[in-house]
Symmetry: C2
Subunit: 387 residues, 2 copies
C-alpha cells in the first residue's frame, strides 16, 4: 500500500475484528462508523461537534461536491480537509450511487453515466476515470472506485449486467488511479498524495454473482474492498446473508467497508460477519425528522405523548442532548421547526451510533462481543416505539 495507509487487526472474536486503520490524516479505530458530510458539512453540526462526539472519519459525497462548489475550486483551496476545516480522515464515495438515484435524469452506458444536475439541469458525464480525477482533487484519504449499483428490484440478469460493467469500470478506475498517483495525469492536481482507492463488490442479492464480483475485483487489486449494493431495500436477513458470504472472502489484512448501512442492529450483525467500516445517512437524516434512538429502539420525538415528558431521550445516554434537555423540550423544538432541534437531535443520534461502535470495539477486545450483540438485539427493537 502506498503512503501512510495501513491496517492491522488487533483482536478477533469469531468473524468480528478489532483493528486500526492508519491514513494520511490519522488513525481510525475499527469497527468504525462514518457520519455523512454530504456537501462538506455533516448537516446541522460543526467540526467541533464531531470531534466532541468522537467521530474519527467522515464521508463526503463526490457527486454533490463536484456540482457545488466544484472539485477544481476545492483543489485550489488545498483539498477538502482544508476547505471544510476537518483535519481527521475523509472517505469520498465515487458519485455513482447519487447519479444512479437520479432516475430519468441519467443514462448509463459502458462509457459511464451521462446525467443532468438535480440543481440546474446542466449536463454532465461521470466515468470511472473522471470519478478518480475528481476524488484526487478533493484529496480524500480513501477514494472509492466508480461502480454501478443495481436496484433491490433488479432481476438476476440485470444484476449481472451491472456487476460485469462494474468490473470493467473497476479496471479502468484502477488504471486511472495508478496514472494520477504517479503524477501522469497533467490536468489533475491531486491534493492528498497518500490517497488510496477501495474496490467495490457488487452482484445484488445473488450469491454466485457476488462471488464472481469479489473474484474479479480482487484480481484487479485495490488497497481495500467494500461491499456495495446492499441496504437498498432488500430485507435485513438478505443483507446479513450476503455480507456473511462476501466478507470472509475479502483479504483478511485489509479493512472491509459495508456501504450505506444501516440501523444500529445492522451494524451489530455486520460486525459479527467481519465488517470494519460503515456509513449511513439514517442517524443524521432521521434526527432532522424527529426520529431519535434509544437502547430499546427509535422514538419519534414529535409524538404528542412527549409534550410533558421530563425525561431525557434515553436515560442511559451520556450525550450533550440527554444530559441537558427533556423530551418535552425536544418535542417543542421539533414541533415549531427550530434549527436547534436538528442540532440537538443529530448530536444524540450520532452519539448513539459512535458510542455503539465504541462499545463494540471494547467488547471485541475483551472477547465479549457476542454477549454484547445478544444483549443489544434483545433490547433494541427497530419499529418506532413512542413508548
Amino acid at each position: 500500500m502506498p503512503g501512510a495507509f495501513a491496517f492491522a487487526v488487533t483482536h478477533r472474536e469469531g468473524q468480528a475484528r478489532r483493528g486500526r486503520l492508519v491514513t494520511p490524516h490519522g488513525p481510525v479505530e475499527t469497527p468504525a462508523f462514518m457520519p455523512v458530510g454530504t456537501r462538506g458539512a455533516v448537516k446541522a453540526l460543526t467540526p467541533k461537534d464531531l470531534v466532541d462526539l468522537g467521530a474519527q472519519i467522515i464521508l463526503g459525497n463526490t457527486y454533490h461536491l463536484y456540482l457545488r462548489p466544484g472539485d477544481d475550486l476545492i483543489a485550489r483551496r488545498g483539498g477538502l480537509h482544508r476547505f471544510i476545516g476537518w483535519s481527521r480522515p475523509i472517505l469520498t464515495d465515487s458519485g455513482g450511487f447519487q447519479v444512479f438515484s437520479l432516475g430519468d435524469l441519467r443514462r448509463i452506458d459502458d462509457e459511464g453515466a451521462r446525467f443532468r444536475s438535480h440543481i440546474d439541469g446542466s449536463e454532465h458525464v461521470l466515468t470511472p476515470e473522471r470519478a478518480v480525477d475528481i476524488q484526487a482533487r478533493l484529496g480524500s484519504d480513501i477514494s472509492m472506485v466508480f461502480d454501478e449499483c443495481a436496484p433491490a428490484t433488479a432481476t438476476e440478469a440485470e444484476a449481472r449486467v451491472a456487476m460485469e460493467r462494474t468490473l470493467r469500470w473497476a479496471r479502468r478506475g484502477r488504471a486511472r488511479f495508478g496514472q494520477v498517483s504517479a503524477g501522469d495525469a497533467a490536468q489533475v492536481t491531486a491534493t492528498n498524495p497518500g490517497q488510496v482507492q477501495f474496490g467495490i463488490v457488487q452482484g445484488g442479492v445473488f450469491p454466485h454473482l457476488r462471488e464472481a464480483s469479489a473474484e474479479g475485483t480482487l484480481a484487479i487489486g485495490f488497497d481495500a474492498y467494500a461491499i456495495g449494493g446492499l441496504s437498498v431495500g432488500e430485507p435485513p436477513a438478505t443483507t446479513y446473508e450476503i455480507v456473511g458470504r462476501v466478507a470472509p472472502g475479502l483479504p483478511d489484512d485489509r479493512p472491509r467497508y459495508l456501504m450505506g448501512s444501516g440501523m444500529p442492529d445492522d451494524l451489530m450483525e455486520c460486525v459479527a460477519r467481519g465488517i470494519d467500516l460503515f456509513d449511513c445517512v439514517l442517524p443524521t437524516r432521521n434526527a432532522r425528522n424527529g426520529q431519535l434512538l434509544t437502547r430499546v429502539g427509535p422514538i419519534n420525538i414529535r409524538n404528542a405523548r412527549f409534550a410533558e415528558d421530563d425525561r431525557p431521550v434515553d436515560e442511559t445516554c451520556g450525550c450533550y442532548t440527554c444530559r441537558h434537555f427533556s423530551r418535552a423540550y425536544l418535542r417543542h423544538l421539533a414541533t415549531v421547526g427550530e434549527m436547534t432541534s436538528a442540532t440537538l437531535n443529530t448530536l444524540h443520534n450520532l452519539h448513539f451510533y459512535l458510542d455503539t461502535m465504541q462499545r463494540i470495539r471494547e467488547a471485541i477486545e475483551f472477547g465479549l462481543f457476542e454477549k454484547l450483540r445478544q444483549e443489544f438485539l434483545r433490547s433494541f427493537s427497530r419499529g418506532p416505539l413512542n413508548a
Copy 2:
C-alpha cells in the same frame, strides 16, 4: 426591589455607564447585549454555544411561547430556564410588540389586544394582566409590562393615543404584578419568585410625548425602565436624539433598556447616551441570510466574489468561525443551504456583538469609551461592503 434583583453603576464616562445587574439567575455585566431566543432557543445555536460566546442573558418572546408550547406547560416543567436548559438570566418581552405586528389579525382597544394566532388562526386576548400572568408562569428574571408600540409612521395624535393607553395599561400591569408577586393570584403559578418588572416609555419620535410617558411611568414605579417604540423604521439620528433625551431622565440607580436595537453602531451611540441593556434580532437573523459583520461593516457572504476567498470573515476576529473557516467555505455552505451555515454565521455575528459589548465595558472602566466609540464609528460602515 424584591428578591435578589440589584443594580450598581461601577464606572462612568460621560453618560456611559459600566455596571452590574444581579438577578435570581446570576449577574449581568452592563452594558450588555441580549441574544434573542424567540421560541425557547437562539436559532441555530445550543445553550453551550451561548455560554462559549459569553452570552450573559437571553431574551424570550412571550407571544411565541404562549402559543407554543404554552405558558402552562412551561410552568409545569418548572419554568422557562429549566425547560430550555439555560441557567443564566432571561428577560421576556410582554408579547405586545409581536401582537401589534400581526396587522389585520389583531384589534386593539383599552381592554387589550384581541388577535388571531399566526399559526392556526385561533382567537386569543392579551391584556396587561394576562401578559403579567404568562410571564410569571414563564419565570423570566425580568418581565416587561404590556405596552402599545406605535409604528414609525404614526402621527403625533396616534402616538399620543398609544402612549396614553400604555400608561393606563402600565398601571394595570403593575397592579397585577403586585398581586401575582404577593401570591394573590390563585390561577397563576409563578415559577421565579425573584422576577422583577420593567416599565416602558413610549411616545414615538415626539419629545414632549416621551417626556409625559417617562413622567407617568416613573410615577407608577417599576423595578427599572425601558425605552420602547424605537428602531421601528425611523432614521438612526432620530433614535439617538430620543434616547439622548429620555435616558438621562430615567433613574440613575436602575438599568436602562433600549428595546429591539440595533446595529453595532447603534449600540455604541446609545451606550454613549446612557443605555445599559440591548436586544436585537439583527445579528442572528442577518447571519441566517448570509450578512456577516466585520470591523469595517457587513458583508454578504453569498456574494460570488467570496467564492475563492481563503481569508476568514474578519481577520481580527477570534470567534470559532473565523479561527477555522474561510469565506470561501462559508459562501459554499450558504449557497447550498446547509444548516451548518446558519450555525457558523450566527456564532460569528453574536461574537461580534458580545465582543463589542465586552470592549465597551472595558473601555468605560479605563475612561477610554469615547476613544473606542470614535475609532469604531470611523472604521465601521453600515452599508454592505462586499469588499
